[in-house]
């Protein structure tokens, strides 16, 4: 069975149709990349999958393990294995990164029928994960994302992902704002999670990321639809030629 299936998805924001029939299937173990012009609906697609309010799905569905998740609450979807690394991570004053990570991790463990993680084990896990991402451990004592630099926020998103080990990870422009070294470290973080039972949807504007996270499939999202699909060479082609061809064709 496919891991994630997006079927003829139509969605509107503020009465305006943004997604106009998106079809996309992620098999277990695959990495898919989505590229496309600004404002074309890439973040809209990720938000609809994650369950953010304010998006009206007018047609179609999103299936995880063959089951439609669109009626599920965002936290249920997350516990079922959906993870979205946000294009713009949200600052949460007063809530420490560590308290947040622990709460999220325990929510997942409880859903899996496991006991809560003990303090020592949690510390060890965070230590290991932060080290792997080149983040100072002390960062988790700070309020979540508050005052984090652009790149630090993106790293923090990937830290959450590596801790929560989702089944479907959507990375919405996780590479933007990262310096050259961070890009490599973060990509390694993502690659270390690649597994036969997990799939990734990587949204990016830059072919460069795909040198590190090598996708199985590349799609162009234009005018609310998948306008083209191909292998990783499609990204190179886009880099050279831009989106004009797809915009004209779809218009």
């Amino acid at each position: 069975m496919s891991l994630l299936e997006i079927k003829n998805l139509h969605a509107s924001v503020a009465g305006k149709e943004i997604l106009k029939g998106v079809n996309l299937t992620l098999e277990p173990g695959e990495v898919h990349a989505i590229m496309g012009p600004n404002g074309t609906g890439k973040s809209t697609l990720s938000n609809v999958i994650a369950g953010r309010e304010g998006y009206e799905v007018t047609k179609g569905g999103v299936l995880l393990d063959g089951k439609d998740i669109l009626a599920m609450e965002p936290d249920e979807r997350a516990r079922a294995g959906i993870f979205l690394a946000f294009q713009y991570p949200v600052e949460i004053p007063g809530v420490t990164t560590s308290a947040f990570l622990k709460t999220a991790l325990n929510a997942k463990r409880r859903a899996e029928g496991k006991s809560e993680i003990d303090a020592m084990e949690f510390m060890k896990l965070v230590k290991k994960k932060t080290e792997a991402l080149g983040m100072p451990y002390d960062m988790i004592k700070r309020a979540l994302n508050v005052g984090f630099s652009g790149g630090e926020k993106k790293r923090a998103e990937v830290l959450q992902m590596t801790m929560l080990e989702p089944r479907v990870a959507i990375l919405d422009e996780t590479d933007s704002g990262l310096d050259i070294d961070a890009l490599r470290v973060v990509s390694e973080g993502v690659n270390s999670l690649r597994a036969p039972d997990r799939a990734f949807l990587v949204i990016t504007h830059y072919q460069r990321l795909l040198d590190y996270i090598v996708p199985d499939h590349v799609h162009v999202l234009a005018n609310g639809r998948i306008a083209a699909s191909g292998g990783k060479e499609l990204a190179l082609e886009l880099e050279a030629e831009g989106y004009a061809k797809y915009l004209n064709a779809a218009a």
């Binding site: 994650a50 369950g51 953010r52 309010e53 609450e73 965002p74 936290d75 979807r77 997350a78 516990r79 993870f83 979205l84 946000f86 991570p89 949200v90 949460i92 004053p93 007063g94 809530v95 308290a99 947040f100 709460t103 999220a104 929510a107 997942k108 859903a111 309020a143 959450q160 929560l164």
Partner: protein, 401 residues
């Protein structure tokens, strides 16, 4: 004579007769008194109170909060109960109790002076490490009781003490607690005071605190407001010497029809003093939060740095908040600032947390605690910060069930 609450207030001749004391001939503040505009006492005057007498329990009821390692001083219905208290407090602090002289100042103080059985007198002469935990318990008998706790604290110059006050009651009872606390912080002395008002949901609590801070003295206070039908914590602080430093903070979490009022007066009479206030509250149900903060800076109080901020978070559509900052500044070389804001839970933040698998109620709880966090951070005593934070967490849990 203009109508006042005196005509039907519950502390008239009958009340006095039963106590065997002269009747209190004052009046409770009526709705026309500006300072009480947001906190009407109508509900209080409708209850017929009885003078609180010693209620017989020889062990502490189970709902009473305890602090491990602290010295405990217990007041039941305002009267000091030696058998429930820690008698030996160690070096540097002495506790006595006795009748206090009547003190004018407000009708509530006069009422307290008329009926307070005696004052708990805490005299501090050195740096004291041990926490002093004062527990005031309201315990009505068959009829609603009125209690008038009186606490007097003096910290001599250079002395240091940390006081905790828990105001609680036996569950399911209507009572009226009218505590008056006088604190004198000597030159270079430090007094930390952490007050928790978690009265029973039918109880009234109108507290007055009178604080004097001498030159070079430090007063750090935190006022937590959780339970009670009608609660007011009025704190009047006078900075009476140069280089005095006052940090007066608070947090509240209200639900049902609970009403909590924080009224502060920061009176700067001398130069080079600082005062800061951070009050934050969350309001649910149909509760009502009030913050009135007055800062008075006299002409001579140059180089004053006085700040206050009040912020409230609405958890529902029903609650009300009244916030009234008053800055009266007569000196020209000062820094004074006040800020006020109200808001609701941020949907973006909520979605972010939920997108990580955290259920709605838990996510809201995190955001509420996060909202209060910077107020709680003003509690410099780590153990007390943890205790008060745990109290708020308990409130959140109770709200959820």
């Amino acid at each position: 004579m203009k109508p006042s609450l005196l005509t039907d207030h519950p502390f008239g001749a009958d009340y006095a007769k039963r106590l065997g004391v002269p009747a209190w001939n004052g009046a409770l503040p009526g709705p026309k008194v500006e300072e009480w505009r947001f906190t009407p006492l109508r509900a209080l005057t409708k209850v017929s109170f009885t003078p609180a007498t010693g209620v017989g329990f020889d062990t502490l009821p189970r709902n009473i909060p305890m602090i491990a390692g602290a010295a405990r001083l217990v007041l039941v219905n305002g009267a000091y109960r030696k058998t429930l208290s820690t008698v030996d407090l160690g070096k540097g602090v002495e506790v006595t109790h006795g009748k206090v002289a009547a003190k004018e100042g407000s009708s509530l103080i006069a009422l307290n002076a008329a009926y307070a059985p005696e004052s708990l007198v805490i005299h501090v002469t050195a740096k004291v490490k041990k926490l002093i935990h004062i527990i005031s318990i309201g315990a009505s008998g068959a009829e609603p009781a009125a209690l008038h706790p009186r606490i007097t604290v003096t910290a001599e110059s250079g002395a240091e003490i940390t006081l905790v006050e828990s105001h609680v009651g036996l569950p399911g009872q209507t009572y009226f607690s009218n505590p008056v606390t006088s604190i004198t912080v000597g030159a270079g002395a430090t007094v930390r005071r952490y007050v928790s008002v978690d009265e029973d949901s039918a109880a009234f609590h109108l507290a007055t605190s009178l604080v004097k801070v001498a030159g070079g003295g430090t007063f750090e206070a935190f006022h937590l407001g959780l339970g009670g039908a009608l609660v007011r914590q009025e704190i009047r602080v006078a900075l009476t010497g140069e280089n005095a430093n006052v940090r007066l903070n608070g947090a509240y979490a209200l639900d049902g029809t609970s009403h909590h009022d924080f009224t502060t007066l920061m009176d700067h009479a001398f130069p080079n003093c600082t005062s800061s206030q951070v009050f934050k509250g969350v309001v649910d149900g149909e509760s009502h939060g009030v913050y009135q903060g007055r800062i008075h800076v006299a002409r001579d109080a140059q180089k004053t740095d006085a700040r206050q901020v009040h912020k409230a978070l609405f958890l529902a559509r029903g609650p009300a908040i009244d916030c009234k900052p008053e800055l009266e500044i007569y000196a020209d070389d000062v820094q004074c600032a006040h800020g006020a804001a109200t808001g609701e839970i941020d949907e973006n933040q909520l979605f972010y947390l939920r997108s990580r698998g955290i259920d709605d109620a838990t996510a809201r709880g995190l955001l509420i605690e996060g909202f209060l966090a910077d107020a709680m951070a003003e509690i410099h005593h780590e153990g007390m910060r943890e205790l008060f934070t745990a109290d708020v967490t308990r409130w959140l849990k109770a709200r959820r069930t």
